[in-house]
């Protein structure tokens, strides 16, 4: 299920549909013909999301990429019921989340959403209390609540001695982890992260992404990562969903998506630097698969090409 090509790069030829069948994946979230229009009936009417349909498979690591204005943030706010569709449906485990509008809060406990720069939403006196806010709203108390908080804190790398400090005494990076823990503590089935590494330096970015990968691997929950950076998405996800101007442009494994690099580039999106090198090499006549996206993979391709021999 891993999107990275440490080993033979050619294994990821199969399409998402074939993979789905092979691995018998279930859809945890189904988005059907979702449309959201702002300002209906006024001269400012505008569809932020138009007729989007796609599935999120249980346990996968999905990446969503698109420009500002592509509908990313409107889309993800539908997945946890913060926004209501103008038309279309969102199904969680097969059930329409708006079937019982009064119970929409329950959906938010199952689909956790972490916004950009989440550290600006901390408010409690201690880190512990802030992390406890979510599970407390779910009705958890006593030992169960304590367990949720401590586990979440451990998962994001917050030490026990930091639990009873004021969140405002911590550094920016630590505050962000507290905010992340606050959502993880609700133990949602799906965790949506909107640009979790925004503003972090390269080391901080890699650190946080490693944490998220560990969470995905250990808990086998579904993760949706929204990002601007093609490099970041490529190196972490199983599948990519590309948005453009309120629509879904394409979806597939990283290899499938980068094989259509020309379309991405004309849509104003970028491809990983490695892919651009590979494309250029292919143009210049080398027998390189232009859809590689990690340095290791390209290295392997080049060594194979030099030997003129068969791939691994």
């Amino acid at each position: 299920m891993n999107g990275r090509t440490e080993d033979c790069p050619r294994r990821h030829w199969e399409s998402a549909a074939a993979r789905k069948e092979r691995e018998d994946l279930e859809s945890i979230l189904q988005i059907k013909h979702l449309t959201h229009t702002y300002g209906v009936g006024t001269p400012f009417q505008r569809s932020a999301v138009e007729d989007m349909s796609f599935d999120v498979y249980s346990g996968e690591f999905l990446g969503i990429i698109g420009h500002t204005g592509s509908g990313k943030s409107t889309l993800i706010q539908h997945l946890n019921g913060l926004l209501k569709p103008t038309s279309g449906q969102i199904l969680l485990n097969g059930k329409d989340i708006w079937a019982e509008p009064k119970k929409i809060r329950d959906v938010r406990f199952q689909v956790g959403l972490v916004f950009q720069y989440p550290e600006y939403q901390l408010f409690e006196e201690t880190v512990y209390k802030d992390i406890a806010f979510g599970p407390a709203n779910m009705g958890k108390t006593g030992e169960e609540l304590d367990h949720c908080v401590r586990e979440a804190a451990k998962l994001v790398g917050i030490r026990d001695d930091q639990l009873f400090k004021s969140p405002f005494e911590l550094s920016g990076g630590q505050k962000r982890r507290v905010a992340l823990a606050g959502v993880i503590a609700m133990e949602p089935q799906v965790l949506i992260l909107d640009e979790p590494t925004a503003g972090l330096d390269p080391a901080g970015r890699e650190n946080l992404l490693a944490n998220i990968r560990d969470y995905h691997r250990n808990k086998q929950r579904t993760i949706v990562l929204v990002s601007h950076s093609m490099d970041e998405i490529a190196q972490n996800v199983d599948r990519i969903l590309v948005l453009k101007s309120a629509h879904v442009l394409m979806s597939g494994t990283p290899r499938e998506v980068f094989a259509r690099a020309d379309e991405l580039i004309s849509a104003g999106l970028d491809v990983p630097q490695v892919t651009r090198i590979a494309m250029r090499l292919k143009e210049k006549g080398l027998p390189i698969d232009p859809a590689v996206y990690t340095v290791q993979a390209l290295e392997q391709e080049l060594l194979a090409a030099r030997k003129g021999g068969a791939p691994c």
């Binding site: 990076g173 330096d201 390269p202 250029r280 340095v295 290295e299 080049l302 060594l303």
Partner: protein, 289 residues
């Protein structure tokens, strides 16, 4: 050496030390330790470093926002510690900050850009001229009477840059000004400041942790633990792979690839930084079997 360089030196630091105020009993942590740096007029310098390396602190000493705890900072020969010179220094070295919203003072773009010349007591007609010129220089002339809060991040930062240019400074320091922007916004800001550097000879000091923003710089300074760890051209700095990794930064993918290929026995140079150069170098090496 002194008389020659003082003419062409925009900013100079000598044994610069800075420590943030601490609580009683806490040990002092020096954010900057003995920094000796000279920024030449007209150059485009990128200061790289991980969060906490002191790069932002360094930037803030350049126009007296932070005063040295030890050592000196001179702007065109003016000492930043002299409060009588501070206003003059700030007119010569402008600064653009990270958060696009928290630099905008007015409700209307032209009013915001006029803020600095108004503070300097520039006559009304001249302010008009400067506002229009500044907007043209950043490519935002059509937004002259727009509301700034409705603009995108990249547009807001360009307005911030225009607001600084309206002072007619000799140097602009951008303190992580691209950190909160999306790739499009980042590109807008970068091409704007490169154009200003090329066409108006403005000295640019760009503080960032994005490696790729340093590709087109004249000079790259890498900060680590409050000291200057590396200083040279992009080619010189980016090819010192181990040293870069030790300072908490990453190496560009092009250099990473070339390094691995070299270790695999391929005869490729290490300093082909851009995608084109890298690809060309590889093709050349592979063809020569």
């Amino acid at each position: 050496m002194e008389s020659e360089t003082t003419m062409a030196t925009m900013i100079q630091t000598e044994n610069l030390k800075y420590a943030y105020p601490t609580m009683e009993g806490e040990a002092q942590i020096f954010a900057l330790q003995d920094v000796d740096l000279e920024i030449e007029q007209g150059s485009f310098v990128v200061v790289l470093g991980h969060n906490g390396s002191g790069k932002s602190t360094l930037a803030k000493t350049f126009n007296g926002v932070l005063l040295p705890a030890g050592g000196k900072v001179y702007v065109e020969g003016m000492d930043t510690a002299d409060e009588h010179l501070l206003l003059g220094i700030r007119q010569r070295v402008g600064m653009v900050f990270q958060n696009p919203d928290n630099q905008i003072v007015a409700n209307v773009v032209e009013e915001d850009i006029a803020f600095a010349p108004e503070n300097l007591g520039v006559p009304s007609a001249e302010i008009r001229r400067r506002v229009d010129n500044a907007l043209a220089a950043v490519g935002m002339s059509e937004f002259v009477r727009h509301a700034p809060h409705l603009l995108s991040g990249g547009q807001k930062q360009r307005i911030a840059i225009a607001g600084v240019i309206a002072m007619e400074p000799a140097c602009i320091v951008l303190d992580e000004a691209t950190a909160m922007l999306d790739p499009i916004g980042r590109q807008e800001v970068l091409s704007t400041i490169h154009r200003l550097n090329r066409e108006k000879g403005m000295t640019v000091v760009l503080i960032t942790h994005h490696m790729n923003e340093a590709e087109d710089a004249d000079r790259v300074v890498v900060m680590d633990n409050g000291k200057v760890a590396m200083d040279g051209t992009p080619r010189q700095v980016f090819t010192r792979i181990e040293a870069l990794r030790n300072t908490g930064l990453t190496v560009p993918d092009t250099v990473d690839l070339l390094d691995r290929l070299r270790k695999d026995g391929l005869d490729v140079p290490l300093d082909a930084l851009t995608v084109e150069e890298c690809a060309d170098a590889i093709v050349h090496a592979v063809a020569v079997k």
